[in-house]
Symmetry: C2
């Protein structure tokens, strides 16, 4: 296997030689895939390369400050006719997770595929693979790429990369936080990364209605004998708090602050007649994806989920799921 | 005014020449004053110096992992008879805030006073003063001191310093977060700082009962016309959630996550017949300490508080304070 520096050089050469580049952010995009792809996009723009960025789903509201985010395309039509000679996947743990199956088939030409990722399960699906599970984030790898190639990191590139590192480390609180990620974050502040904007959008992004809804979820926390702590949110709660399901984003992660829970389980009623269950754990030996798989779901060891048909009913014995 | 390096050398010389050293953490101790003082204590122990550490109030539960925390003394009696020749105040914004007035009078000998702090209001109350308002924390200054004097930072010292930086920057989220604080945090991880322990104690430290109580506070959030968002917690809430007033620590800071609040106001009923009001803001031009002063309270620009006699009553028009 080629070493990292060699792979960075190969990637740089492939970009230098390419005339039409497609960057791919994974479906249901988060701060890391968008930060990493947009850092790359900002550099490609600065050096005058032709490029497009594709994502199956739109950029979430709380990440609509990343430089060039409006540049991201969501429909195949706009790019299917372009003869790409290079496609770079950043932060996609697999080709299918990238969510571009139908698009790939339509693309003209025979593009070289590059795969830059930090997920340990990545099967090295591309021609050129840089998969580094010790990195906090794909954004950290993009930083290393820029640094290794003596590419000047601009304020916009720094803002993108820091967003990726900050969100994937849970604001420098989860186990992905390493010496390298912290030191790079410091350097990115030195390059002028807009830290205040990042925290305003990614941390200070709750409304009164969101937190009223969270309040209901917290008020209903229930400790079960097996160390599971659960809570529920119904469609009626959304109505009464004048909130949307987007306002529930982050509540399961927030509950990781619990010291006395082995597994945190958040049950959310969906209007389509099922209940979505989010599972989280911070405990070393616990794998919630195994639990999710038993119910037909999936995810990561520390964060997973599944859905069951039914709705949430409050009974004298507590909340339960009633089949529909 | 002597430069920083010169002052660090003066401090080092004073420590070298001292036979009995007293370290002072400020009253109502937080992660920074304890982290900074205990980093210094661990080094003094390593080099075989005679020293004591004093604090007016006990170490809070969530900081009882800091190496040597059990070494801290709370009563004057144990140290009043010792002929100290050096007293080092770390993170005390004034001599009175240190909370050692009566103790100072009892101390035998004529100690030299050293004042290491990062609060801009510090009046340079000691003989040797190192007051650096650009530092994220007093702990960052202790790091700089060690580095400037080529002192080897052990794992225990690193754990103490990182605790101070992490807590004073709000987990690397508030405006105290700088390039230097991030880069130093990275280096401290390199020195083996026990990051997992720090986050387990300072972030993942909520119980189900604590969060049920927080849930009540969130559920009652009320937006007022002037951009103030308020909430209330009564003595009855503590009873029903089987929680204590310690469980309310952090709720006002957590509410800084609100994007649509100019000022956050948390009203807590005290059994002694008054209501404690905590004020927070993240807005550049807002000074909540000025508001607190109008009601006989005080604090910082971004975090302040006051108390009024009375208790909290729920009326059809909302919550209000009723005089007693």
């Amino acid at each position: 296997m080629p070493d990292k520096l060699q792979t960075f050089q190969t990637i740089k050469q492939a970009i230098d030689q390419a005339d039409e580049i497609l960057l791919i952010a994974h479906q249901k995009p988060d701060g890391d895939t968008l930060g990493a792809n947009l850092a790359m996009a900002n550099w490609l723009r600065d050096i005058g390369k032709h490029f497009h960025i594709y994502c199956l789903h739109p950029v979430p509201q709380h990440l609509r400050y990343l430089p060039l985010w409006e540049h991201i395309l969501y429909t195949d039509e706009e790019i299917a006719h372009i003869p790409f000679d290079l496609i770079i996947f950043i932060d996609s743990s697999s080709l299918s997770y990238a969510g571009i199956g139908p698009l790939l088939e339509k693309i003209k030409g025979e593009p070289i595929l590059i795969n830059i990722d930090h997920h340990p399960t990545n099967p090295n699906f591309a021609k050129i693979n840089l998969v580094e599970p010790t990195a906090s984030s794909a954004s950290e790898l993009i930083y290393q790429f820029f640094e290794s190639q003596q590419i000047q990191i601009t304020r916009d590139m720094a803002t993108c990369i820091l967003t990726g590192i900050l969100t994937d480390t849970g604001g420098f609180s989860n186990l992905a936080t390493t010496q390298a990620s912290m030191e790079i974050a410091g350097k990115l502040l030195g390059y002028g990364a807009k830290f205040r904007t990042i925290t305003n959008f990614t941390v200070r992004n709750k409304t009164v209605n969101t937190l009223k809804l969270w309040g209901r979820a917290l008020d209903r926390l229930t400790r079960h004998e097996d160390g599971v702590v659960s809570t529920v949110i119904t469609q009626n709660d959304l109505l009464e708090c004048e909130a949307t399901k987007d306002d529930l984003e982050g509540i399961a992660n927030f509950l990781n602050a619990l010291q006395d829970a082995k597994i945190v389980m958040v049950l959310k009623e969906d209007p389509a007649g099922f209940v979505k269950v989010s599972l989280r754990t911070t405990q070393e030996g616990v794998d919630v994806s195994a639990l999710a798989q038993k119910f037909g779901g999936g995810g990561h060891k520390k964060a997973a989920g599944f859905s069951v048909p039914g709705k949430l009913i409050h009974t004298p014995k507590g909340w339960r799921i009633e089949g529909v």
